[in-house]
Amino acid sequence: MDSSAWPLLLSAIAATYVWRALGVLLSARIDPEGDLFQWVTCVSYAMLAGLIARMTVMPLGVLAETPLVDRLVAMAIAFAVYFGWRRQILPGVAAGVVALILFAMVRENGLLGG
């Protein structure tokens, strides 16, 4: 960890708090259902979806040690359990996580020849 992380995080926290404070101060004068917010919401969701896809397909850190096929299959299992289990998020997440752990353990022990 280099020392630049602290000012960077504090700036990011301040830049996030700006939205909260603006919400308190402007409350009566803006329409939360208006076009501007719908656009901001779209930008924000698209950005996150891009980040999540990138983390799955080409991860930067520790996940890069796992094969792409393992991550994709584990993600597919998470979706299958989620849709199969009355759209419950937690069982889906648990299934995806456990699947990736099992794949990695099996590979570590050489059963899949990885």
Partner: protein, 240 residues
């Protein structure tokens, strides 16, 4: 109404509400974040500070990932902020409910730090049944418990990533993309769906073009595209 007894009832209700699903989800998702923070070379203090300070998993995720990628400072700050831009409309719709009977608005500027998807939804749900004073009490207790659960989760994930077998660490870090992928699958609305699909396609491509600005560019291009596309399509649908 005797203020003391209803006050206690409000606090009890807030504790019971918060200790259920909200705490469980936060505990699990923040455990994933704690592991990611460690693998992104952030210290435990920074991981905890980002949970309490950013207090929104999308922004925290953007911070850990872009920090690990060594992105430019301006790009990191903008991406973290944009990831949680929904706090503005959320605060606009909710904070006036807490202001009822409050002389000094400065308190709201402190309380608003507790605003998150969980606390916002719970606050909106109970507010019609409570006075202004009771709402503030409920929100502070509910939010305080949520944040405690999140900090415990963050520390747990951080410590677990360093001490458990490697495959478990893979799973804990993988929790982050899986969690959001399913949250996204749960979302309704055309504009949102188009924005998510276009973002998911563009994200990896633009990361290859520019690791520094790829995330922000994805949001701006795919988000703006989705916004206009759904507007044009719904306008055409109305004319028919």
């Amino acid at each position: 109404m005797p203020a003391g007894s209803t006050g206690r009832a409000v606090v009890r209700r807030a504790i019971l509400d918060a200790l259920g699903l909200p705490s469980l989800v936060l505990l699990a998702s923040m455990t994933g974040f704690g592991s990611l923070a460690r693998e992104s070379a952030l210290g435990l203090e920074l991981a905890l500070l980002s949970t309490a300070g950013v207090w929104g998993l999308p922004g925290q995720l953007a911070f850990a990932e872009l920090y690990a990628a060594g992105s430019e400072a301006v790009a990191v700050v903008m991406a973290v902020s944009l990831a949680n831009a929904r706090f503005l409309p959320m605060a606009v719709s909710f904070m006036p409910l807490l202001q009822v009977g409050l002389a000094r608005r400065a308190w709201l500027l402190a309380l608003v730090q507790l605003l998150s998807v969980n606390t916002w939804a719970a606050g909106l749900r109970v507010s019609p049944m409570l006075s202004g004073r009771e709402r503030r009490r409920y929100f502070a207790v509910f939010g305080g418990i949520c944040m405690t659960a999140a900090l415990i989760g963050t520390a747990t994930g951080y410590l677990a990533a360093g001490s458990l077998p490697r495959p478990v660490t893979f799973g804990l870090v993988f929790l982050n993309p899986v969690f959001f992928a399913l949250i996204f699958a749960d979302m309704r609305g055309h504009a949102t769906a188009v924005a998510l699909a276009m973002g998911a396609l563009l994200g990896p491509l633009l990361h290859l073009v520019s690791p520094d600005w790829g995330v922000l560019a994805t949001g701006l291009i795919a988000g703006t595209g989705a916004f206009w596309l759904t507007r044009i399509l719904s306008a055409r649908g109305r004319r028919r």
